[in-house]
């Protein structure tokens, strides 16, 4: 489904992403963790063709992302970046409708409207459908963008820090939803998280990055350990199993 082979990005002399390789084939949730500036967003952007790739290659469904027509890729992979500035003033429903663009090219059919309603319901945005985005809280807006990505109805979904702006309750519901998208809809989801505990609670697989390199990649039990987390973040931590849930605590 998604294959990154030795992806590299240079800014000047520094490799901000350094030969990162990653293969995802089955539905599930993969979390990417790592300190600020580790290259998580850059890696995601290269896979999603938002940034040119300097070295290495990326494939989606076996299609090379640098050579495939954008419209073809848009039906296979969707991505939500960290910051989104809109020029147009749109309602929640308008925005989610744009998720259908790869399928409808701007002319929404009844089937498109059904998908939009589905996405609205999935994110429980129904009551806000007619509201303008600039009349929403940061968290509500974040959910609207995720709904748009969901309406795009691609098998691969990349989300860059979707928990930004969300309080703990909404963060938890967002991650439950990501889980449901993988479990019920069979999506291959890659999600960048800065909170290790969300990764360990909701992900099937955790990829840890540091200085542009992938330094650990495996199931939660293998990556969320004191040794790995300390190496990745350069900070002593305690990892404990609390009621069957692995949690990471910092030391004072």
């Amino acid at each position: 489904m998604i294959e990154a082979a030795a992806l590299t990005k240079f800014y000047g002399e520094t490799r901000v992403v350094d030969r990162a390789s990653l293969t995802l084939t089955t539905p599930g949730v993969t979390a990417i963790i790592g300190p600020n500036g580790a290259g998580k967003s850059t890696l995601l952007s290269m896979i999603a063709r938002l940034l040119p790739i300097d070295e290495g290659r990326a494939f989606v469904d076996g299609l090379d992302v640098t050579r495939t027509k954008g419209a073809d890729l848009a039906r296979r992979i969707s991505v939500l970046r960290q910051e989104n500035g809109l020029l147009a003033r749109l309602t929640v429903r308008d925005l989610i409708g744009f998720g259908r663009f790869p399928h409808s090219r701007g002319r929404l059919t009844a089937a498109d409207h059904a998908k939009i309603d589905e996405a609205l319901a999935f994110l429980e945005l129904g009551p806000l459908a007619g509201r303008y985005l600039d009349e929403l809280s940061g968290g509500q807006r974040q959910r609207a963008f995720v709904a748009m990505v969901l309406a795009q109805d691609t098998r691969a979904i990349l989300l860059d820090e979707p928990l930004n702006n969300l309080d703990i309750r909404h963060a938890v519901s967002m991650m439950r939803l990501v889980r449901r998208a993988a479990d019920e809809l069979g999506k291959v989801v890659v999600v960048v998280l800065h909170d290790i505990n969300f990764a360990s609670a909701f992900a099937d697989r955790v990829v840890a990055m540091r200085d542009g390199r992938i330094v650990a990649d495996g199931p939660v039990e293998a990556v969320v350990t004191e040794a790995v987390i300390e190496a990745v973040f350069g900070l002593p931590v305690m990892v404990r199993e609390i009621e069957g849930q692995r949690s990471c605590l910092f030391r004072r």
Binding site: L87, A88, G106
Partner: protein, 337 residues
């Protein structure tokens, strides 16, 4: 999870109800269309005193020119704002029309009077437009490539380019032989009061084609207004769309500048009014509104100034004044962020 939508604030909801525009964009557009028709009818008939055979052929080309110019300026401005991702920059603020004036001068300078004497003005116009497209793509294409996030830099570059083009044109005009300069002067100092109607037919065709192409690009422009990243993710190539649209904007600016000369703030005025009246949810609506508003301003303004108040030289000044006020208001209210 069940309560996730429960954080909707009742107060915000009711305020939102009040802020929702009372009229639908369709109704607003219909009203604008009626108003534009009304202004045109007034312009054609007011003070004709029954001399139809004299008045109609005299006024019709002028009306047609104002419609073409208004539409060209409105279309080019709204599209350029989408390309640059903000609502302050316009082609004229970025120096597009002074570039066209420079190209006009340059062609006269290089080709000389003999060329002008034997050549069809439409041919010269076509040549100028082609050069204009190339220059616009070269200059502004590279500025907008990769997204135009840095508004300050763009604005500064635009102002500097405008001054540069103007002074280069002024310099060349000093070197041109006086006979050629007379020919050039006619063209350079076209204004709302001395519209160059010779070019009207070709202008109509050019604008028609550009409008048709943009008609097909409307859904893509809607997507581009979501920002480059989302557009890419939805399968629209922002750089390609920007290149194509920039070329078409260059044609529009060529047409309007050839007919009435440079107009700095008018585009901003009509684009801002259009967004205020029908919103920015769909380019089809915003563009239609901007065009109609432009026609209303030009034709209505000209009718009032010329037929009612008896001034016949002031339209350009009045329009630039209001446009300038809108520009200042936008910059003061929102800043450049």
């Amino acid at each position: 999870m069940a309560e996730i939508a429960g954080d909707r604030l009742p107060a915000a909801a009711s305020r939102n109800e009040m802020r929702r525009p009372a009229r639908s964009p369709r109704r607003t557009l219909a009203l604008l269309a009626l108003l534009a028709l009304f202004c045109s009818a007034l312009f054609m008939t007011l003070g004709a005193h029954g001399n139809w055979s004299f008045v109609l052929p005299f006024r019709a080309p002028k009306l047609a020119a104002m419609i073409v110019v208004g539409h060209a300026i409105a279309l080019s401005t709204v599209v350029f704002q989408t390309l640059s991702g903000n609502r302050i920059l316009t082609p004229s603020i970025m120096g597009f029309d002074t570039l066209y004036a420079l190209i006009q001068t340059l062609i006269v300078f290089l080709a000389g009077t003999t060329f002008l004497a034997v050549s069809d003005p439409r041919l010269i116009f076509a040549a100028e437009t082609v050069v204009m497209i190339l220059f616009a793509l070269g200059l502004y294409g590279s500025l907008l490539k990769g997204g135009a996030r840095d508004l300050f830099r763009l604005l500064l570059v635009g102002v500097i380019l405008g001054v540069l083009f103007r002074s280069l044109a002024g310099f060349l005009q000093r070197l041109i032989d006086p006979n050629a300069f007379v020919v050039l002067q006619d063209r350079l100092y076209a204004s709302f009061n001395s519209i160059d109607t010779e070019l009207l037919a070709i202008a109509f065709v050019a604008i028609g084609i550009v409008t048709l192409i943009f008609w097909r690009l409307l859904p893509l422009l809607d997507v581009l207004a979501l920002g480059r990243d989302i557009a890419t993710s939805l399968g629209v190539d922002p750089d390609r769309l920007t290149r194509v649209s920039l070329g078409l904007v260059a044609v529009l600016v060529s047409v309007s500048t050839a007919l009435v000369g440079p107009v700095t703030f008018f585009g901003l005025l009509v684009a801002s009014l259009a967004v205020a009246l029908v919103g920015s949810r769909r380019h089809a609506e915003t563009l239609a509104a901007a065009s109609l508003i432009a026609v209303i301003c030009l034709v209505g303004g000209q009718t009032i100034l010329e037929r009612v108040l008896g001034f016949d030289t002031a339209l350009g000044i009045v329009i630039e004044f209001f446009g300038g006020v809108v520009f200042l208001a936008i910059v003061m209210r929102r800043g450049l962020t």
